[in-house]
Symmetry: D4
Subunit: 248 residues, 8 copies
């Protein structure tokens, strides 16, 4: 072990077996992480309570199953995103308390339900077709220790539905907004609240939506100053950042 | 003249100077518009009261001046779009009752102020930077014989400003909405009214607005079903179509 | 219920149980829609006769079937767009008078056939491959209470076919034009008529048509001033706006 | 005044001059903002200490000067972004304690220097050419009441410079990272810290940078989960969101 | 028949039954094609020998079969492009002398083998993957009455193969060049010959070929002045134009 | 000189001074063009009567002037494209019979006016703004020895103007069509004539024309089979190919 | 044979049967490659040890099998890229010592294992999803005679993993870096080493990765000066160039 | 100094003043570069003879002048890229032996002319307009210690010019090819040589060249396997990599 190597080297310096110049020379060749790893661990500690995450897409059910059982030897919570029904079937057999969310393809093992987030994260979606992405955000934010208030299907073309949920939205400490098509909802929500808004463009739409590009560009150009943006359909990423903010 | 040519030919048929077969042969070579022109004139009649329009961009002040004075021999109203100050200076000297609108670059001679539109056209803009495009729409709609209600600077991030103008907007028979950046305003307005909404993306913005592309895509993907779209910065075109609709 | 809450509050004001200042404070926290909803209903009334619409894409046959039967408890006409044969099979079993249009994937229940549109809507398509989109427009416009004159397969490369239909086109009060590939038909039609033209780019084509982008850009740049544009393949949206205009 | 109208109406209810039903009817027609404005003010209160902001681009020096002096009658801090030297000259004459930052074009009046942010915001830039955007972020974050630690010119191709600043970066509560060209810095920083990272793509570069598009896409696809993105060159927006987060 | 209508009208003019003014009025309402059709036929006559063409993509085997048998009642040659094996099977049953070319999906009935082209059309392809498009061009050019010299698989990275075919290429009266990937072959061929070169970008490639976009842009920017371009994979169109040129 | 080198070598073979094997080895190192040049000259001879061409853009007036005078020592006709007024001034001083065409920036020395083209080339433009490109095509086609029939300003939105010029267009042996905005004119023209149509998209337009991209895509997707396309604004290239075709 | 033709001609010159002028004339018509081929062979000789390569995509298993057995009559090493399992099954039956690499779809026959590369080629990949591309690079580089050091799964968001492999990376003579998503790894690696870095963008990612475009643009804009780029997913090409460099 | 700090710490360990555990703790907080710097220097040593480089774009003449004089205190060679005439004037005054290359905007101080490259680097450009980029490559490669063979103006449309320079090109150890428009030259060159080819797309062209995008895509899709690509107009980067390769 590297910590050991360093200690041995210092022992040798202390005992005079190794000259200081030679020690310095050898220290240059020690792997970087020997010295930096503790710091990185410290960072990881700050993230305490975060689940282990597996990105399911492109893996086989067997790979996902093995990874999941392996991680559960140490972690209490795990989250698998973009899983298909075959993965879900296998994981749920291996891990009986795993939940599967078919719309979003999320699988969750949620054993430690401590709330580490200080407030509520609102997860809002514009249309019913955006719910899969919003569900990924909701499931993620919950397993990361947050109270989540999900408010689905309040698009900008029916502004009264949005307005009648204003109270709930303004009570959130962080807001995640998922919208496809023109992607206008984050701007409207951003104007109503003073909390940070994380906008998730979805690939919902057809034709000139260009698989979410229209929504993405719209959100990047939001006239509301409290809006930041993540990748198309990245409900996980939005909830991850929202969780970090909610712990502050 | 072609009408004359046809009449002469028929005279010759009647008098037997020309055989029917020969006449049919010759008629095939008559210019198309001899027969179609009247119909097209009829169409133009339907457009009665529409001003003559000059697209200023790329012309010299002299060309615009000459065109304007020439058209005014027959027309009572003319509209020059995308004019620069030099054009304006010359036209206003030549035509003392011409008005210049520096923001939009429109020049208007408005002698026949008959209202041919049946209701009001609302012209709405999202931000102050969108006003040049909205002004082009307003000036155009007015000179085409419409009552215009201009409501500027009611962006979606300040939804209360929009809501407090709801009455005025719902009273319009047609609505023109100009917006840059994320271009979300037409969707919100479209959800509030049952009138046709004509959306004008503007090139206002920077970075990922890509000179109006973000707003354009947003509007094409509007979740409000009563929205149609014109080219970026095309306030004139939106007002032109709105005028046609308002006459129905 | 919120109307009830407001009435109770006013009762308390009247009886002196609640002070006016306290009442005003509490009214600020009443949900928005309590006061605004009537107005929105009024808007919906303006849209009287419009069918209820279900966007089929991405839903299961069961979901669509349930929605359809539910809506038919109150509505006389319903329209389902982008339905697949399985949906159609189930809906037609549940609702025997439902019609299925396989080309466009539209399903229609058309019980109230009152004409609410004042004139005819012409629905024109450029090529045979554009017919699915044109059919969606036609079916939509009909169920929304309009006489529809469908003129299919009159592309710009065979201008004589277009010209020989000129009479029918000029008689329409609103014109919907569906075209893929270069998308040139709306410009030519726009030059022939004085009615508003709603252009629908279709995804018909290959290579540099980029799934309808070529047609979309062409239509947005139309040199005919009476043309507005909707999203690629959005026959429904074009017919919806055409219906609104035709009721004016 | 609308508050007055409501009070009068309640007086009439109390005195019995107006029936409750009639009162409810009339309340529906009160402008929306009468009731909603207080709530919005409340939101604004949450934003207490935020400066008034003027977007300079496209305005004249006179307009900016007038706006600035007008706002300073009520606000203690103002921020003008994207100002040119002429604006700066005029504003500095009108407001002697205004500071001008030529690189970013920011003008700042910073009278209330209360720290409202709980921790430090790190503002990092990749190359010297990114400093204008980073400066806009720094100036914004400071005037919004935050301690700012600016670490400029630590690009990913010289990873040792980044690593030697790791301590400072990990101490920040929120991190803003500005980078042009390939826009890789936020991913590397995101992997080092557990704080939220707000990435600002800059338009720095040439050729296939496509005015910041390369950096924007890179950041949206960051493999670090704690990264969100704002528009190209939008240093202001990043600092605004960072300020909101830092107050939580 | 319309020719008949016109003759009757002229008869009535001659006999005095119809006044000249009335005749002129009625002639305005005659369908456009009555007068223009002969001319169009004349054009079609210029195209004498051209086969009837069916675009197979998106049609059912039955539709294609019916169209083919119908057209063969009048035409001696027909060409079906983008046909799949099912279409081919059915057509070959219905029309025993039909040839099927599986690579390109072309089906050809070639009964009239008169050479109407004055010289040879060279059809060149860059790589083996481009052969389907080149085959479509070859089959088309042959059935349109041209001698075709097909020279496949002579890409620019093996310039000696191109150079050793220089003689054959320079003997052609028109040259069609099909190339995917970087699409450089038309420029090199264009520099070797003085004949018109029609470039066909193919969708061959992966990654940054973007389905033929790279080749398309390359060909449009060719530094050889004798190159024009058709749509991606449009071997038919290139051969059609080449045939028109080869008849001149 | 290389021809000389080869002759010497053969002399040495004949005299036995050099062995055949050695001669073959040395011949491999002779420059390529020694053997190929004659053939290439032959090609150039086929292009007999073509002018020498200078692309003015990016050169200094002095460079252009020197090139022009140098070329005129051997050539009778020269064409300079994309020249600015300063170039024109200098060239016209150096070459008194040079003509300058300010709209297109073409400069022409046209001493040999032999007609080498067999028929007429029609050069058509859609709008007045397209004339500069059309003029470049016209000037080029003329100096290359063709009769040119220029028909400007016949856009598709005024189809009657196009139809009334049908005779002239159908008489052309090759047609060049220049159009910006939606670029629809080549399709309509292509449907009217049986001659090859060379389409030139122009950068005329704004907003979603994207500097000619809309027109370019439209033309590449033309539903008329006799249309090929050149680069945006490339009037020269279109006329060059038209000239080659017109000589066949 | 052409070499023979030339020898015969020289024989005739030597014997006086053919005049020198006539010989020179005939030599002009000898196929180009007769004289150039040796040189090209010489080039190929420089590439000695390179395997024969078959691009599997789009071929049938039978075609690939036949090509492979044919090439193995002369070559000792062959590489088949982008092969599917059916191809692999057939080839492995025909060539028992063939290896199949399912992740990348490579099939390799590696009989001559001479090391022709002077140093080590490091093949680095950012994430596990990039391994297929990296594997293609590794398999290619090995069969081309290089020692390969594969270092997988060291993305920039976990910089310590990269740093702890710094020694291995800096020992490489050429470095191939495969990365999807934001494509930042080549910049970081480029900054650590002084060897040439060949960057391979992969299509790994979703949403705004646009099938590898984000990674491609990022790599083209790398702030490290020692980075060049190949096409998306082109592991083969990167390894091919790396092999050429490693032989220098 | 950090080396000093480490030595002191080891001294204290040796003398027993500091416990080993405490020493290990403190070593974790030493700046990263203390340990890594030597290694990085070692890398820099590998790059020995490379000039110091200043990117001129966006800097003032004064900044460039100061940087240049500062760097020349230690470096013998410096290269300034993208300099304008004002920079050049100032630098040439300050550094009399500086050379200015106006076409490319390069300024070079070349005092140490040792050849560190083992062979020749060929720098090839397609057209005269590409020479500025090629010149940047040439100047860069020379000052980095390479023999450079510049072969300009050998585009693919005049293949004989390329072929007659084949000898010179094949003698190069590395080849840099600069080309705009269709960017086809690297593929042709790549097929002729076995050396690595570094392709530089240039922004030369107009219309559908889209500022170098066409050339860039073409080069990325090159069918020659020995081609890698750098950013548009990045002559410097290509020469830098070529220099690294030429030292191997």
């Amino acid at each position: 072990m590297d910590q050991e190597q360093l200690r041995n080297l210092l022992d040798q310096v202390k005992s005079g077996t190794v000259e200081i110049d030679a020690a310095m020379e050898r220290m240059r060749h020690l792997p970087f992480e020997d010295l930096g790893f503790a710091k990185l661990d410290h960072h990881r500690a700050l993230r305490h309570g975060m689940p282990e995450v597996i990105f399911g897409l492109g893996k086989t059910p067997e790979q996902v199953g093995e990874l999941a059982t392996h991680l559960l030897e140490q972690a209490r919570n795990i989250l698998i995103t973009r899983a298909d029904p075959d993965m879900a079937k296998l994981v749920c057999e291996l891990v009986p308390d795993a939940e599967y969310f078919p719309l979003s393809g999320a699988i969750r093992v949620w054993r430690d339900r401590t709330l580490t987030g200080k407030g509520t994260i609102a997860v809002i979606s514009a249309g019913t077709s955006d719910i899969p992405v919003a569900q990924e955000a909701q499931v993620t934010a919950e397993v990361m220790g947050n109270r989540v208030d999900s408010i689905f299907d309040i698009g900008v073309a029916g502004i009264h539905r949005l307005m009648s949920n204003r109270e709930r939205i303004t009570e959130a400490r962080v807001v995640v907004v998922c919208a496809g098509m023109e992607g206008a909802l984050p701007s409207v929500v951003g104007g109503l609240v003073s909390a940070p808004v994380i906008a998730v463009p979805t690939s919902v739409g057809y034709g000139a939506s260009f698989h979410g590009l229209a929504a993405l560009l719209g959100m990047l150009n939001s006239c509301a100053s409290n809006v930041t943006v993540v990748n198309i359909d990245n409900g996980f990423g939005a909830a991850y950042v929202a969780s970090l903010i909610n712990r502050l």
